[in-house]
């Protein structure tokens, strides 16, 4: 069955540094991958989508890469700020193409 792994449960970095989060998947070749942000007590918020034929996608300070050979996506936040502190979730469409399955998330803490 499909598996999604976000290797780090928690990541602590200093303000101004680049945060890099990793998402690995197995047993599947998804057509696209999505990243979400979740703050405590709130629902996930969609950030970015990257398709299998795209190597990289950018949105403001966010950058996502998608390596279908390694079965891995990297999510970067440049010039990180304390307001970026949240849990970031990686998601793939399931094999039936009917719903997203989510990784367990990485909780990012940015200290000033």
């Amino acid at each position: 069955s499909q598996k999604i792994e976000q290797n780090s449960e928690a990541l602590n970095i200093q303000e101004g540094k680049t945060a890099t989060l990793t998402c690995n998947y197995t047993n599947y070749s998804p057509a696209y991958l999505q990243w979400y942000r979740q703050d405590p007590g709130r629902g996930p918020v969609f950030l970015l989508l990257i398709r299998e034929n795209e190597k990289e996608k950018r949105k403001e300070r966010l950058k996502v890469t998608f390596d279908t050979t390694l079965k891995q996506s990297l999510f970067h936040i440049t010039a990180s700020q304390p307001a970026d502190s949240a849990t970031y979730l990686c998601a793939l469409i399931n094999q039936a193409g009917t719903a997203l399955i989510f990784g367990k998330g990485t909780t990012l803490s940015v200290s000033s």
Binding site: Q34, G43, F46, L49, T98, A99
Partner: protein, 114 residues
């Protein structure tokens, strides 16, 4: 405001009771979903509805039943609540299930079974 709204936000109930959680979206999306987030924060798909048709059901106990009176609503009814049902339940919607559109989530319903 355009959004996915779910009620109630908090629900505390005794074991064995039956309860419902309501969800409405005014985004004109075609597909709606229910997800369960457990104490370990793992978000798991429960159901999705596309044009009033159930298209997945991920090994959820049949005590849980989704009901969709129209495209904008997907309610979750739970019978005979158990302690293990305690979790945060999220409703979500998307333009289409498989075409790569981002999901819009509600703010969640924290269910506590005592």
């Amino acid at each position: 405001d355009t959004a996915v709204s779910q009620t109630p936000k908090y629900l505390v109930t005794q074991m064995g009771n039956d309860k419902s959680i309501k969800c409405e979206q005014n985004l004109g999306h075609d597909t709606m979903y229910w997800y369960k987030q457990d104490s370990k924060k793992f978000l798991k798909i429960m159901f999705s509805y596309n044009n009033k048709e159930l298209i997945i059901n991920e090994t959820v106990p049949n005590r849980f039943s989704p009901k969709s009176p129209d495209k904008a609503h997907l309610n979750l009814h739970i019978n005979s609540l158990e302690l293990g049902d305690s979790a945060v339940y999220f409703c979500a919607s998307s333009q289409d299930a498989g075409e790569g559109y981002g999901y819009t989530f509600g703010s969640g319903t924290r269910l506590t079974v005592v």
